[in-house]
């Protein structure tokens, strides 16, 4: 199964999405957009892809979803939601069945976006905030509601693309951003690869299949069919399209196999270092000695003892969605790389992409790093710098932090010993958990 996933990655990078690698893990080079997009489909996550117009933000997601779910590209295009201010809930989620409504029956015609497991929102920041929230609420819960009806996706993932701010964009407000598991940038591939892309502009044809696209469109729009029958027939078309993909050397992954992969990923465990490092990272992003925790509306005091930690460089508090995202993607990455457990390297790789859109940095911190030479956009670069700094601190006291956590366990079990003292916020957090502060 792992081979099939690698096969998808290789097929897309060889034939469809040309890029420069920008990520090195265990000596192997990857492209962050492609790798995280693949992991997003596997873990059913939510990914924000940012970048300049025309650099493959949407297409990378389309290719990955088409191959992973065996859905022809044309069908995916029909299910995409385009971001613009006039977008409505009726176009995004579903609309009343007007024919039946005339007969006095209330029934919903669900949009392709809702029905398909692949959910791509193009230029999400051209949607006003309220409409962004319709999509994210639905994806968060896997349930879509319209009138009094509900549609449930048993399998889904979300890709949203966003251009950098221009005159036609709205902001994506922090609570909305927080719902995305990861953020990546689809980068310019460089002059030479860009030149090559121009010679392969018809590469989309590889994932097109007119017959199956017509069949799927007909099925998706057939409101007379019951949900179960419709899905059964849709799955059959997917299976036929998968045979078409096999002819190109791909090893499509069936629904059962996808489920098995997810179970295996779910069962992956974090080793103690990965566990302790993630706790250390969270502690720096949420701890405040003076006010109990970080809050976006409270200013960090100058001259605070904890000035050297990240809590002093950020304005807001990291949410509980962050560790969920990191664990999920780190587990998927570890499984993808064939590792038995999630280690610090996996956490270190994933964390910046799960952090970059969730943190609001203080101006002083930005001023230090914004002019540095880099290949990543500033938010991802700053997140990488931050994770490296925490990792450095963790490396210096890893045994002590793990011991502090072990001692905390003993204390919580009733042993009369003192918690381990230390300067790092993690020690203070442990003491707070034990009721010491």
């Amino acid at each position: 199964m792992r081979k099939s996933l690698k096969n998808i990655y290789d097929f897309i990078s060889d034939h469809l999405y040309f890029y420069r690698p920008d990520l090195e893990i265990n000596g192997e080079k990857y492209n962050s957009t492609l790798l995280f997009s693949l992991l997003t489909t596997v873990v059913q996550g939510k990914q924000l892809i940012v970048g300049e117009p025309g650099l493959g933000k949407t297409t990378s997601a389309e290719y990955i979803c088409s191959v992973f779910y065996q859905i022809p590209l044309g069908t995916i295009w029909l299910s995409e939601v385009a971001g613009h201010p006039e977008q409505t809930e009726e176009k995004i989620v579903g609309r009343p069945n007007l024919g039946l409504l005339n007969k006095g029956i209330e029934s919903v015609v669900w949009s392709n976006f809702v029905q398909l497991p692949v959910k791509i929102v193009d230029e999400i920041n051209r949607l006003p905030e309220t409409k962004q929230s319709i999509i994210l609420d639905g994806v968060d819960r896997g349930n879509w509601q319209y009138l009094n009806e509900m549609f449930t996706n048993d399998e889904y993932c979300l890709f949203a693309t966003a251009n950098y701010q221009d005159l036609g964009t709205f902001t994506i407000i922090p609570p909305m951003l927080d719902r995305f598991d990861v953020m990546v940038e689809s980068k310019h591939p460089g002059a030479n690869i860009s030149y090559l892309i121009a010679s392969f502009y018809k590469k989309d044809e590889l994932l097109r299949h007119e017959k199956y696209e017509r069949e799927l469109n007909k099925l998706l729009n057939d409101s007379k069919l019951s949900y179960e029958v419709k899905m059964e027939r849709i799955e059959k078309v997917y299976a036929n399209f998968s045979k078409h993909l096999e002819k190109m050397g791909l090893q499509p992954i069936s629904k059962q196999k996808r489920k098995a992969i997810r179970n295996k990923i779910e069962d992956m465990e974090l080793d103690l270092d990965a566990n302790a490092f993630l706790r250390t990272l969270i502690s720096e992003l949420s701890f405040c000695y003076k006010y109990g925790q970080k809050r976006a509306n409270e200013k960090c005091e100058e001259g605070c003892h904890f000035t050297g930690y990240l809590c002093h460089s950020i304005k807001n508090c990291i949410s509980n969605r962050f560790p969920i995202s990191v664990k999920l993607y780190a587990k998927a990455l570890a499984w993808f790389l064939g590792d038995k457990q999630v280690n610090v390297e996996h956490i270190k790789t994933v964390a910046p992409y799960a952090l970059s859109h969730r943190l609001q940095w203080r101006e002083e911190f930005i001023a230090i790093y914004e002019k540095e030479t880099r290949v990543d956009p500033l938010p991802i670069y700053l997140a990488k710098v931050a994770v490296d700094k925490v990792l450095e601190r963790y490396g210096e006291q890893r045994e002590s932090i793990k011991e502090a956590l072990a001692v905390a366990y003993d204390i919580s079990q009733g042993r009369q010993i003192a918690p381990l003292e230390g300067d790092h916020p993690i020690y203070w957090e442990i003491k707070r958990d034990l009721g010491g502060l």
């Binding site: 974090l270 103690l272 566990n275 302790a276 045994e399 002590s400 793990k402 011991e403 956590l405 072990a406 905390a408 366990y409 919580s412 079990q413 442990i430 958990d433």
Partner: protein, 223 residues
Amino acid sequence: MKNPFFEFKDFRPKKREIPLDKIIASKEKVMDALIKAYDRLVEQEAKELVWLVSYHSVIRAYANAEKSIKDMQYGVEDIEEFLFEIENPSRLPYPIMGLCGLYISALCNHIKEKEIVLDLQNKNINLHLLGYRLPKGKRLIVYGDLGDFTGIGLNGGELLVEGNAGNWTGAGMRMGKIVVKKNVGRRTGEDMVGGEIYVEGKILGVGNVRYGRIYEKGGIVSP
């Protein structure tokens, strides 16, 4: 609620060993050995609670000191550490200055290093007999003051005292050089049979010199 520390239930920290710990441990080992050897010397020499300096007692004590440090591995910094221990009554309860001086002389004479620097400044000790039989090729530099019988029986080495020395300095020395930057006491160079003593301050009194030369403030005073 599940215990948030549950995953660390079985974690037992590795015994941390940083290089400094290793160095300190090995130094402690050497210091223990040095103190034990000194204690043995005290047991052999000071049975009657009083140790008097005489021609024979010095020869015997030095021979015992040599025996007690035989095959011992130590460095100049260990000798310096031992000087600190002389001031510490919990580890060295019987710091007899004469025996200490002889013991340190034996340590200096058998060390691999050619040059030994000892700092006695700001220490509340007055070592006697330091530099006893300092052999040819060795240079012992002492910052601070020394007591009586400094450099007696000097055997070709060079003893430089950046301070004062007591009575009987250089007594019985055979060859080599003693330089005292400040003053020395009486009977300086008593029975010396060779070598040179340079005193840059005052000499309270010169002893019966057989052979060798004694200088005071650059001028020869003996012969």
